[in-house]
């Protein structure tokens, strides 16, 4: 018992939300950089292929600078070959890096908050296992399940006129999935007293799958892949997209777990 007590007091000294946030941002930076590397290697080839298909006129009309809504372009609005604010070469390198790292930092911040709530509330999981579990569940709930209903699309796929509807449905699916996931975890924890961890976890997982399954069945389908768009490019792009997010979430989870472990064990004589 004395052992448990020292551990407890020591952790309460070290584990503040503030340090979790710092670790979350650092982990987000790591995850963002790793995702940038993965996306450069595995994502850019299919993005480039899709853009050249788009420019060769294969797909429907879509100017790449047009976000699908009435922007105030000033005088440049009528020029079809608009001078792009960001060159294609920079988009694929610096822009991708900036986007991935900014997204990683934001996600890392949110991850640390989710972890702060989950920590010590996930049964007997160790700190590091908790971190990796939160990252894994977040990937399933925020990326994988919404993707199965509304998969990522490369340039040249997607009608600019429906961007609002598509964005709404995509975020709606993420929201449903995320809420169902959180409720499933809370329910599984609550039931674990009576049913034990195994059955309560299975029940939570099954409940989650039923909710997202029903949502996916009821929400409208979107298919705006132009006829003649090469399926191999689509497949390559979509697997690269899932992989980019997988690397991002895994990077955040593992880097955060390492920082957390270091923080928790620092100054302790093992």
């Amino acid at each position: 018992m004395p052992l448990t007590d020292t551990v407890t007091t020591e952790q309460q000294n070290t584990l503040t939300v503030r340090s979790l946030l710092v670790w979350g941002l650092l982990a987000g930076l790591v995850g963002g950089l790793l995702a940038f590397g993965f996306a450069s290697a595995f994502g850019e080839p299919s993005v480039d292929a899709a853009i050249s298909i788009e420019e060769s006129g294969g797909a429907h009309e879509h100017s790449h600078g047009d976000a699908g809504q009435a922007h105030d372009h000033g005088t440049a609005a009528e020029e079809p070959a608009e001078e792009e604010p960001v060159s294609r070469a920079f988009q694929a390198t610096g822009g991708l890096g900036i986007g991935a790292v900014a997204y990683g930092l934001g996600l890392g911040g949110l991850f640390s908050l989710a972890f702060a709530f989950a920590y010590g509330r996930l049964g007997s999981l160790s700190p590091r296992a908790s971190a990796v579990t939160v990252a894994g569940l977040a990937y399933v709930g925020v990326v994988l399940v919404p993707f199965l209903k509304y998969p990522a699309n490369p340039p040249a796929v997607g009608n600019g006129a429906t961007i609002g509807e598509r964005t709404g449905l995509f975020f709606g699916m993420i929201a449903i999935s995320l809420v169902a996931l959180v409720l499933a975890v809370v329910a599984a924890r609550a039931l674990s007293r009576r049913w034990g961890g195994w059955w309560s976890t299975l029940a939570g997982g099954a409940g989650y799958l039923v909710v997202v399954g029903v949502a996916a069945a009821l929400l409208p389908a979107i298919n705006e892949v132009p006829t003649g768009f090469p399926p191999s490019v689509l497949w390559e792009f979509r697997t690269a997209s899932l992989g980019t997010s997988a690397v991002l979430y895994a990077g955040i989870g593992v880097a955060f777990a390492a920082l957390l472990h270091r923080g928790l064990t620092r100054g302790r004589t093992l």
């Binding site: 551990v7 922007h71 986007g99 590091r128 990522a152 997607g158 997010s245």
Partner: protein, 70 residues
Amino acid sequence: MTTHTVAVPTPIPVRIPVRQILPYAIFTGILSLIALYFVGAEQGALAVFDGTTVHELVHDARHLLGFPCH
């Protein structure tokens, strides 16, 4: 007792009180969501700023992170 107590180096998780998390959650949550929004959706379906510079800058990341782009 001694048979079970193999000194475990793994720290035992101690919950952080929700009251302690909330102030951070609101502040960081909003800032983080803004970052995600700018990468995922600004100058797409919604726009805070005019033009397309943000959209074009983060364009490839937006596609590869699975967001509807255009």
